[in-house]
Assembly symmetry: D2
Homo-oligomer: 435 residues x 4
Amino acid sequence: MIPRYTRKEMAQIWEPQTRFRIWFEIEAYATEALAELGVVPREAAAVIWDKGKDAEFDVARIDEIEAVTKHDVIAFLTHLAEIVGPEARFVHQGMTSSDVLDTCLNVQLARAADLLIEDVDGLLAALKRRAFEHKNTVCIGRSHGIHAEPTTFGIKLAQAHAEFQRARERLVMARKEIATCAISGAVGTFANIDPRVEEYVAEKMGLTPEPVSTQVIPRDRHAMYFAALAVVASSIERLATEIRHLQRTEVLEAEEYFSPGQKGSSAMPHKRNPVLTENLTGLARLVRSAVIPALENVALWHERDISHSSVERGIGPDATIHLDFALKRLTGVIDKLLVYPENMQRNLDRLGGLVHSQRVLLALTQKGMSREDSYAAVQRNAMPVWRGEGNFLELLKKDKDVSALLTAAELESLFDLGYHTKHTDTIFRRVFGEA
Amino acid sequence: MIPRYTRKEMAQIWEPQTRFRIWFEIEAYATEALAELGVVPREAAAVIWDKGKDAEFDVARIDEIEAVTKHDVIAFLTHLAEIVGPEARFVHQGMTSSDVLDTCLNVQLARAADLLIEDVDGLLAALKRRAFEHKNTVCIGRSHGIHAEPTTFGIKLAQAHAEFQRARERLVMARKEIATCAISGAVGTFANIDPRVEEYVAEKMGLTPEPVSTQVIPRDRHAMYFAALAVVASSIERLATEIRHLQRTEVLEAEEYFSPGQKGSSAMPHKRNPVLTENLTGLARLVRSAVIPALENVALWHERDISHSSVERGIGPDATIHLDFALKRLTGVIDKLLVYPENMQRNLDRLGGLVHSQRVLLALTQKGMSREDSYAAVQRNAMPVWRGEGNFLELLKKDKDVSALLTAAELESLFDLGYHTKHTDTIFRRVFGEA
Amino acid sequence: MIPRYTRKEMAQIWEPQTRFRIWFEIEAYATEALAELGVVPREAAAVIWDKGKDAEFDVARIDEIEAVTKHDVIAFLTHLAEIVGPEARFVHQGMTSSDVLDTCLNVQLARAADLLIEDVDGLLAALKRRAFEHKNTVCIGRSHGIHAEPTTFGIKLAQAHAEFQRARERLVMARKEIATCAISGAVGTFANIDPRVEEYVAEKMGLTPEPVSTQVIPRDRHAMYFAALAVVASSIERLATEIRHLQRTEVLEAEEYFSPGQKGSSAMPHKRNPVLTENLTGLARLVRSAVIPALENVALWHERDISHSSVERGIGPDATIHLDFALKRLTGVIDKLLVYPENMQRNLDRLGGLVHSQRVLLALTQKGMSREDSYAAVQRNAMPVWRGEGNFLELLKKDKDVSALLTAAELESLFDLGYHTKHTDTIFRRVFGEA
Amino acid sequence: MIPRYTRKEMAQIWEPQTRFRIWFEIEAYATEALAELGVVPREAAAVIWDKGKDAEFDVARIDEIEAVTKHDVIAFLTHLAEIVGPEARFVHQGMTSSDVLDTCLNVQLARAADLLIEDVDGLLAALKRRAFEHKNTVCIGRSHGIHAEPTTFGIKLAQAHAEFQRARERLVMARKEIATCAISGAVGTFANIDPRVEEYVAEKMGLTPEPVSTQVIPRDRHAMYFAALAVVASSIERLATEIRHLQRTEVLEAEEYFSPGQKGSSAMPHKRNPVLTENLTGLARLVRSAVIPALENVALWHERDISHSSVERGIGPDATIHLDFALKRLTGVIDKLLVYPENMQRNLDRLGGLVHSQRVLLALTQKGMSREDSYAAVQRNAMPVWRGEGNFLELLKKDKDVSALLTAAELESLFDLGYHTKHTDTIFRRVFGEA
């Protein structure tokens, strides 16, 4: 957890107070269910709720007890007994620590997923607004960093929108993967606790019962969760990289908003750097770094070992906090992105019409020239233009083989931007359901 | 691709001949659609199908052409022209190489997913059969490698079954992620090709059209695909690790089948090693190693760069081939696993009844002793037994505080294995829908 | 940074106050050098040292300034000006923020490496002490988890000692990799600052000048640093895994120290779990997770981009803090490890003499039997023993082919533990230089 | 192993024939040493050398035997016996398979390292030649993709040279890490084989004896080896990324050589794409992907398990072959790189003098203006120029606060490129020892 990349909303999910609150709820609901089943007195369950429901847990006191017992749940239960009194002996009946710990972790991860989904919704809204704003803002499309053919800035954003729709689905999937509950005892056999307790607690906590837990909830679920987060982070990196490229001095088609008072460099007062998107690139690396340890957590020994625990104390908060921050930051970048259509047009014109090379190639083949000959004819006229020597259209007009098949007027008609943007509505309808 | 870890069925998907065949189909279907739209002559489309449908593509010839053009799709199209004749000029009209390459890769990945799903189905069948066979074979459950409480070997396998049901769902999800088609031209604007061509090819190839492709199909899909494979591999590692543990000399509750003529060691003729499951552990590492490069492939520059390509030439075949092999190998291991119920019972008895410690603890709290006092009472009688000094039940009977609350008969009744297995049916019903 | 896995000594290196102190020293030394070169007044340099050398930097105030400038070094310099007064304008002359940031990071990483080397020295001492203590404590060696041939517990620890000697060398190498200094200006050309300033600051800070920095110190150095830490973490995992195995209920040859008052399980009072070494296994995963982001940080754009920064704010403290904690914890585990020679002997005897199978094989070949026939003869007598049926020595004596070549007395002489331990001194001399 | 990214020289190291040849040499040298020690007849050792030294091993036959024995070394020994005759029974005396396998792997990895070092030497030569060629070719330095201050193209290449000098050192270190030999028997105790055999074989094979092997050579060495390769790969990615950026249409300061007949795109005949450096970016990802599995291989169980083996069958050849190919490819790219000094100058001029902003800032502080005021004054004149409105020098001249301290002539003198390149010789001397 790096304070500067932490939003309070996500951090709160991971605070000790929140964790103890969730532990209490799990224990209290379980005791309630046990009371229903006649295992513990109904009055005890009521007392536990009454005394605990508004209690502020004393984190320092719990730490103090843990220093002796070297066991966090026992430390909490001991502290809870101090709050609840003698009825506390009915708490945790037939349960094992992991029943509490694992169910709690999943509650936290599910809440984190909810926040992340909300973040993506905000990003999708920003992307949609800007995509429609620039639906017809023509710019050059680039493959390999080299001018290819025209597209529109709106299509670029529509692509991002489609990608973050998938990000949303992946987060929904990830949430579903980990929203399970286990109250199954020491090795998951329900020896000391009725399966109906698990069902009751699951329902109350908004989870589903884990079909087979073995003291722990199986970690393939968590691996999938963190993998989904890593994919979302990589999509953030992709969009961030796009903006970093567009802000390059030589390109300057778009720019991160630069606030009054901001300084780009301690040494060079002229600088306006894409630092937010570079930061997002770094944060994506951090979020991704959770995947391998999460995968390594899957193969626990027998019914469980505790090697996953230290890993999750790290990646649980870190990956969700960083991704939350990154999604919000990216939303801000998109929302306030400075877009320069004139520069887009200027760049588009830079290659002297070469972006129309494919269309000329196709026209030649339509006129009966072989694909290979057409390619050679277009390429030999393109190369001088690439080197800054001459105008593509003029060179084509002068080419004997080309002009034998295409008139000057026909050639000119091939140099038309509208040709490239005619399906923008189709693409928008695919992405937004409207155009 | 490591020959010894390669099954022919999966390898074939990645052979050049298969790839060229899929390329041909994409091109031929696209030409067919173009003919429908009146862009190319219907007869040309027919000739292309006719000449190409049974053609054996000459891989060496294509390599030879690529050595000059340094472009694989152009090399293929040149070779195709040698097969098809002059009508070949109508092939690839308005398309870009990636339309072919990316759609083909997704066809291959989808087919690979189909095979993997089939593999998992086989594994699930084996797990189910053995789970029911050993539904009531009692064995010790272990947390931290230490005896905890009894469970059954069937429950262990039921857990694995539940985990591989999730693996199956993940593979179905992964398949859906990548089963898309792009025929959208140089930067995805459909400038030179009608979107209906994409729809037609997609349908014919069993794919859905990619909402927005930008020459390439976005790589977040592939990242998700390989992440799903990595999670499945980690589940394999978990089950493999379980078997390795069970085969340890001191444990020997189960053993990989050892074939006649097999030698466990060149030096030590007495050895029977769990080499298959150790091998699976290693293969899991290999499959997982595809995730990070797949994630790094997402942030391509602008509409595309080709850095993903070399990565996918590696991880595409490798991850699917290794996972396929691993799933099949694991299925064989489970199918033929030697299970030793007597050893399970012997191990279970080893801790002198300590596995019943929790039940005694709960009984004491039920009789009114505080949780903390109960814990201390049980622990002080357990520790000598742990060291091999004395019998747990006898020590408890002699303990003044314990015997004040529990009679000898009551204590004896707490040492009952059936207590631990009474919910086996519940667990089986959850996993298999039957018990 | 996870508080429970954090030692104060390492955490302090990463505290804001330490960072600002190092920044100040770099700036003050640089100003000193600039004064030497006549670029700034000598008195100014003196004033800066005087006012700054004992100053407590106001972290909250710096954060406040950064909230406006969005630039941390500018915020610091502004605050420094508040402390130093008008002479502050001579600070940072011709320098760029990264001169300060990167040199500071390397100072921190070098100090962290020093602490880690010290940790390893402590671990080596513990390993050596316990290795000599158990130099002749015979135990079974295991390959594939299966009994192979006898070894000694001292040899096991000698192996670990040799491995952590390598860990030490790797940390020394890692320290050398990153102990460089850059004061080279905006793109590393020394346009605004004389290279002699860099040399001066480097010497004062205990670093060497970076041959070519380009605003930033190249990140291949940091990648190598974190990779070295990851290898050390993996060696920790190896030794931790060994102990976890030895503590398994069925093996119980060694055990983590269990302190009075400690509770192994909230549910099962009999449990003594290897939780420290399981924790070390998890921490190893966390430390390793720094490698990939560190590698991804290498390919910064042109002379620099800032994507590495957020990554390093995470992995810098996290990887060093976790590794420091893990090394200390492992040292404690080794120091206090409970070793059970009787259990080692009992396990050794478990295979009924099968551990001598190789020696019988070799004796048969020495007597003229082919390797293949010898292998078969030994294997057919070993398999019943493996299944618990019969005694290996007796079966061999009764085997016609074996007894034709080896007398009963000869066979008996092959069943001798001393045969296996005769080179222990050689191994100890290799590792410790003494035996 | 991907054929198109494979050079024969490296592939040969990993061929079965090479492996069997190394196995033979290890066995033959060991037998020689055993003969010296009187364990086997001298004549037998001589016969083994004689019959084996020029033998072509029959790979198919070995595979056939392995299909039965399921053990590769036993299969090889059986085949060797077919070649050598009855003396073959003296081969492998007291050895275990891993003595052969692990020593062989290290021979292969050491040879691979030699080739990689040779590759780096070639790359260093190319970098040096081009660096001196362009020592004074001025171009803009960029931070964050934004113009910062001038540098030279030679300095860029000098930086790369310094980085690949480090790469070379890392490969030397990696080679040293793995160039060890183990002939220590089943669990490394030398029970059945004298340590002098190991010393003898080590010397003959150009290795050093592993201080403590435990059937296997410890895998921390291999982890370090693959980590070093990964760092080298990341340095390749950095230089490749630089070239990709420089070839962007809007930048075009350098370009990969484009051979006659080459086609950049199947659809767009005008394209010249940086496909080689994009390919290198992808290959870097592949090489890096070996690090995590290599790290996961370290924690083998007890004296050894075989999980590392499948991993190494993959990453051993793959990482070395891909890195070898990538180094050679990068060398070719650098050797033939097209450099466009005019475009560099044109880009440099693009920001209207803003690249001198820092120098103006420093001049103002030298004249007594506070750093903060100077920054503000320069920034307010820079921002319009950034937007393309006005000339920086002219605006500064007109600024009241600036002109109060700096005359027009003084301002003009600050706009001098030579100011930025005056230390180029210093940098070259640091890197090349000459300038």
